[in-house]
Amino acid sequence: MSLAEGVRRGEVRATAKLITLIENHPESAVEDLRALHPHTGNAHIVGITGSPGIGKSTLTDALAKRWRKDGAHIGIIAVDPNSPFSGGALLGDRIRMQELATDPGVFIRSMGARGRLGGLARATHNAIRVLDAGGKDVILVETVGVGQSELDIVRTADTVVVGLVPGMGDDIQTIKAGILEVADVFVINKADRPDARRLMMELQTMLDLDPERHSHWEPPIERTVATTGEGIEMLMAAIRNHWEHLTYSGELEQRRRERYAAELQSVVEDYWRMRFFEYWQREGHWEQVVEQLLRKETDPFSAARKLVAPFLDSESRRVNL
């Protein structure tokens, strides 16, 4: 039985193995991903992002538990950074999700970002595809928590939840740095701390002032204490409202169209790059050209054109869709 078949039957082991394959040997996972693709598109993909330590994992845990009460099946992907020096990583998000470990309706996967800087791992996108095809209703994706460049999660999630906490001083700075535009829902966590109200008002003022916002969706601001579950009901309702908005306004289709366009581009680029380097490494010309560069017998621009030329010949044949 293929891994994809196992995933479709909801087998934990097959699901876990396929995600590992995607992380380690993405080329070898293509057959399974191909088989799973038609079964995707049903899950609500929710991104949870925000600076380190604001309570993303605790929120993820609380949301998952709340959704479970309604019988929803949950997938969780929690991404943490790898050390740029050793390549290793300490993946500690599960510390906040201990009770979910034995719930058969929940599948949690910790993931090292492995050098990617946008908040997710290279493998996250396809891992979501696996969980989606495996029948998860909601997939919660916790980002690295860079707090600034949140490009990846925007390209991945249907609903982006941006978390803030009172008393971090630089909160409003972070918001200015571009997080405002990506949020579909704001959550002010650790609302048991002083100044939660003030942060909420400041944030609301910024939202009101922002002339860039053109969407028909006003991101709500919820307040939570993730450790006690306070406010989680409202947060979940806000996330669900956004999902309904996406569905009924047609924005869901638009977002997915953009997502597929971006994915197609990156898959083409990867495939092309791989084939190209395989070819030239096999032909052994690569080192030769580098030597020529060193001796100034050629320049990088002319050399690149020559190397690409054999691939462009076939380009004149038209693509048949």
Partner: protein
């Protein structure tokens, strides 16, 4: 284009609150280039086995300084088998009397490290056993 990483789960089964050794070890394995999942204190064997299966780790490292290792460690081995994940290597560490080590090994624990063991020793053992 992908890169392989050894994945390890470091877990503290039972009620034992001594987590220094587990944390030292988690960091050492990370510094050796591995992806280390740490789940915190007071895990049941059921939680540990389920986590190891979902995370598809190569190795589960159990740390116990409370004396309950004889019940807890073999239980994790059994549960992994039930999950169809008995290819996952189980290691143990902590204050474990010499006479218990052979018992644990008979019951499926691959190796046991006691106080004073160097983290380098553990790193090398893991690398040798997983052999990516």
């Amino acid at each position: 284009m992908g890169e392989q990483r050894i994945r390890v789960l470091i877990a503290k089964p039972g009620l034992d609150g001594h987590d220094r050794g587990a944390k030292v070890l988690a960091r050492a394995l990370r510094d050796a280039g591995m992806e280390v999942i740490y789940t915190g204190l007071r895990q049941t064997p059921e939680q540990i086995a389920a986590t190891a299966t979902q995370e598809d780790v190569h190795v589960v490292g159990l740390s116990c300084l409370s004396g309950a290792h004889l019940e807890l460690f073999p239980r994790v081995v059994e549960l992994l088998k039930e999950h169809g994940a008995d290819d996952i290597l189980v290691l143990g560490g902590g204050t474990i009397p010499a006479e218990d080590i052979s018992v644990l090994k008979e019951r499926g624990v691959a190796e046991v490290f006691t106080p004073g063991a160097s983290t380098q020793e553990v790193v090398e053992f893991v690398k040798r056993s997983v052999n990516l």
